[in-house]
Symmetry: C2
DNA sequence: CTAAATTTGTGCTTTAAAACATTGTTGTCA
DNA sequence: TGACAACAATGTTTTAAAGCACAAATTTAG
């Protein structure tokens, strides 16, 4: 991998997508109260069952939201990129976390205490509505995902995962390599299959010239084909 | 089935759970503008892909929210009882419907035009927050369901569906019979399995004295066992 | 830099669930 | 009331995917 350049961290007003609807007072309030946390690769940010204490925003890095299911099988629910919010659903629903979140790579998270977050939600209608919009989109995606994961066959699920990754994290300069460094196991956990099958199916895709592999770097060669496979099931 | 008594319909202030946070003006506004719609058994209320026009509340009856997946296989996402809201997620997310909704039995729906719903959402913060809470709970349930449907085995999924039905629609006077009249196919679509397997697994449960069947009426005999099966996967 | 540990890649076996086929049952309505 | 359609039940076959075992490659750590 290329040597990582130490990019200075974006300030909260650039990371928090709902910044624009905050009042000057609220902006100051947030600025005075948010905290910055760094997580190493594979470090866990929060666990299922814990009481939520903060609304969080990913400032830098990549994290996975996942659930441990039957027999400690893991299902990745979604993957976040900088600027995305997390950890707030449980606060709003007055529940404990129902997912785990862990860093894929070294990540920085801005955290705002739950009570502060709630007080803004309850006082600023535009702020509240933004989160409503966000969570409404998430719910649609979650329901769609349920059907995709339950009904599609292995090839369809893997194709879907690859497309999702390229859409979410984008491509490198070559315009083909997916901009994320994932283990086969994570890819399997994302696609609801065993690691063996993820590896096997990736190999098949390579043989069929749909993708190319260089270790963990995956290059999409024939996106149309991938879309077709994903749609067929 | 017992002859249905023609119960007069509950008024909107009793059906709409968010009524309490409306201002007097908003209450009048809603009263003047909502419409009442009756749907026959199996009638479709809205379809995937359509532009959402109304926020809806189930006033009476039972409806299913479902998605048509690969090869027109159906997955029931959730089932609603009177007092539950639906059809509003797509409005908020500015999307078309991503689910179908159909009546299980003769049902009555109160509808409020999308623009009216949105205007209240944008003016009444408590109203907005209530929907945020509701959708936050739904998202948690959806993610949990994804894992249950993908990771549990047939017996676990069916056990889970039976428990969910009894929790959602309650039991009849005998304290055991689940208060809903479902075809085997619907039960299969709820549990992500084929109709044959739903029938087979139900039979097994009967043989193991976990449930009893009388046609479509299902009676839970050994709930602890059912819970155990559901948890084991 | 080497040794250990983890990850990746493949072949083979087993198994859960789908698909299919057939028969029995119930229910509806002409 | 009888005939047809829809639904339910059950046995058999097929298949997709999991499980397992092991070798090779890569990463990590001492």
């Amino acid at each position: 991998m290329a040597k990582k350049v130490t990019t200075e961290l974006k300030p909260i007003e650039d990371v928090l997508t709902v910044w624009d609807v905050l009042t000057p007072d609220e902006r100051q309030f947030v600025k005075n109260n948010f905290t910055i946390h760094h997580f190493k690769k594979n470090e866990i940010i929060h666990c299922e069952g814990e009481v939520p204490t903060h609304m969080m925003v990913l400032a830098a890095g990549k994290v996975k939201v996942y659930k441990e299911g039957v027999g400690s099988r893991t299902q990745i629910i979604r993957m976040l990129k900088p600027g995305e919010n997390f950890g707030y659903r449980a606060i709003i629903a007055s529940q404990t976390y129902n997912t785990n979140v862990a860093a894929f790579e070294a990540s920085t998270v801005y955290m705002l205490k739950a009570d502060i977050f709630l007080s803004i939600l309850r006082n600023n209608n535009a702020f509240c509505y933004r989160f409503l919009e966000e969570i409404a989109a998430d719910l649609g995606a979650s329901d769609a995902r349920t059907v995709n994961l339950t009904q599609k066959h292995i090839r369809g699920r893997l194709a879907e995962a690859l497309l999702l990754l390229s859409k979410n994290y984008g491509l490198e300069e070559d315009g083909a390599t997916i901009n994320i460094y994932l283990s086969r196991e994570d890819l399997a956990n994302l696609s609801n299959m065993t690691t063996s099958n993820a590896i096997r199916t990736l190999s098949n895709f390579v043989n069929e010239h749909i993708i190319a592999m260089d270790g963990r770097k995956l290059k999409i060669i024939d996106e149309d084909r991938l879309i077709k496979i994903s749609k067929m099931g």
